[in-house]
Symmetry: C2
């Protein structure tokens, strides 16, 4: 009994099936070079014994790796959990397994996580967090990934990064333009901005879109009060408070993601400021609950789950000479949090 306590190994399966390890291996890994009947027989024996290959051994021996790494800023954020959900669904369909890690929006910890993923010899790495504007911020990550790719690892990113890898590019710029045009079209002139760190390409690009819309009206981004805070609900609260304190005459606030918008809305609610009667608020992403907020949030819809699916599919597809880039499109979703400015 003591012996059979250990997990059955390939030798045992081979012996019981009356074949060599080589044949057993080929039959089980579904590779070519075995007769159909032999393969079938071996698989039956293996199933009977409850054999499951040791993936460490398989991978060490040069077999295919079946795990992919996913780096997110924070899995608790709906933006990232929806992306993760998309990644997990195609992974399951492909028989792959995914290792998720937090970067915490910090290049240093992102580097640590990516090194670990590489040490784990994952077959592909998906970086889902926004890149940083300053290439130096992620220089080490970039070079680690470059080496990883040179050794055959596959990389894809969601968002704009300083990396010649396949990329899913959220429609940040165009979305920023749409949301600003919406507000401008409603007649708003005193608009405040609740931004995440400007070091993030995502924030930069969304702002750029807003800037374009303003320019088209002969105005400039520099005129708008902008507060930079964490790219989270709490950051939105902080930014909202500062904005309202320093610019009580604002009639609209553009939050650069839904999380921040939720924070802004909560500040407004606490202060008894009517939305959209007194102040309009917009978000960005269209996370699942955006439509259920009080008031429901006008925002830019990005197909997060689909972005996750595409990122993994790209990483799995054969490499191309030039990296692929796939735009996401976006949609302006007008709900109850925006309206014309007070007369």
């Amino acid at each position: 009994m003591a012996v059979s306590d250990a997990a059955p190994r390939l030798v045992e399966v081979a012996t019981r099936a009356g074949v060599s390890m080589a044949t057993a291996s080929r039959a089980l890994s579904g590779s070519t070079g075995v007769s159909r009947t032999m393969a079938h027989h071996v698989r039956e024996v293996a199933a009977e014994m409850g054999y499951v290959a040791n993936l460490h051994a398989r991978s060490l021996a040069g077999g295919p790796t079946t795990v992919v790494g996913l780096v997110v800023h924070e899995i608790g954020d709906p933006y990232f959990s929806e992306i993760a959900s998309g990644v997990l669904s195609v992974a399951a369909a492909e028989g792959l397994t995914v290792q998720i890690c937090h970067s915490g929006r910090d290049p240093a910890s992102e580097l640590t996580q990516i090194r670990t993923l590489i040490a784990n010899r994952v077959g592909a790495i998906i970086v889902a967090g926004s890149g940083f504007l300053d290439p130096r911020a992620q220089a080490e990550v970039t070079s680690a990934l470059r080496v990883y790719r040179a050794r055959g690892g596959r990389v894809s990113v969601i968002g704009r990064h300083h990396l010649a890898a396949d990329a899913v590019l959220p429609d940040n710029c165009a979305g920023g333009r749409s949301i600003a045009e919406h507000l401008l079209g409603l007649g708003h002139e005193r608009i405040g901005l609740a931004c995440g760190s400007r070091a993030l390409t995502t924030v930069h690009d969304r702002l750029h879109g807003v800037s374009e819309a303003l320019k088209a009206c002969g105005r400039s981004l520099d005129e708008l009060p902008a507060v930079e805070a964490e790219f989270t609900r709490d950051g939105g609260k902080a930014a909202g408070e500062t904005l309202l304190d320093q610019h009580p005459d604002l009639t609209a606030v553009i939050a650069l993601n839904d999380d921040m918008a939720i924070g802004v809305l909560s500040v407004l609610r606490d202060r008894g400021v009517g939305v959209p009667g007194r102040v309009s608020v917009t978000g960005f992403d269209d996370v699942a609950v955006a439509g259920d907020l009080a008031p429901s949030l006008t925002t830019i819809r990005l197909p997060m789950a689909e972005m996750g699916r595409q990122a993994l599919r790209m990483a799995l597809a054969p490499t191309t000479v030039r990296p692929r880039r796939k735009g996401t499109g976006h949609a302006l979703v007008v709900r109850d949090s925006t309206g014309p400015p007070p007369a």
Copy 2:
């Protein structure tokens, strides 16, 4: 150049440091039996070379495994993404990496995922989804995990399962009682229930709590109209519609999780039914956005992130003879979605 293209191996580090592989290994894995100076020297050389141990080789050779598996029903659900966030945070602190997979609330696919995790030789498995009432539904999962544990694997679960493993037990029963008492205390008599699948222990336990509260008033759970649907926002919508159609006189709806409550609220909003003026609604879990909904949701708070942290800590702690069980406590959070029934 061609040669150094490959990842540096332990031999290279050892050679360059002028020591044997054994010494290099001991120095790098932080194990005992090396002089401090020697260890320091080896580590410096390794860092210089950008050496990162191959975890497959390490694990195959009998070294400690550094990955843990986490099984959730669906990572896109805030309940699970908050749990995952807790798990990831202690994992990062411990230098561990986590593999996440979806069970999709389906015992068969849960089994597949768990087998994969075991094949990956993860050191611990955390099952975060609710268990099933019928032991047979998960008999194979249970036995796979039993074997896994016998071989030294660590297991912990969040929720009630038919498994003698360490468990974090959400306060489902007491929470159900609290929420029902709250509604009863407000004077509601015609209460409907929007439930997830009764096959889930979570649903069963929450209902049981509701039942206890009713009994204390001389009433019975059987009197209340109950609709079973998916344990999601869409399920909540479906249940809400059925409930309202068949029992237009209800003054309150108890949804068995926040996701379902959000669905119920959206139905009520679409139909122009005032909340809580005409109908009160309650949820369960207190996901991050519960307070930002329209109206903000009265619910039972469960410390999801903390539950994730505890589950991993238990799995990491030395095993005990009897499995540990840790209650979570709960808090009734009264917000704007509940009030007295209409006069």
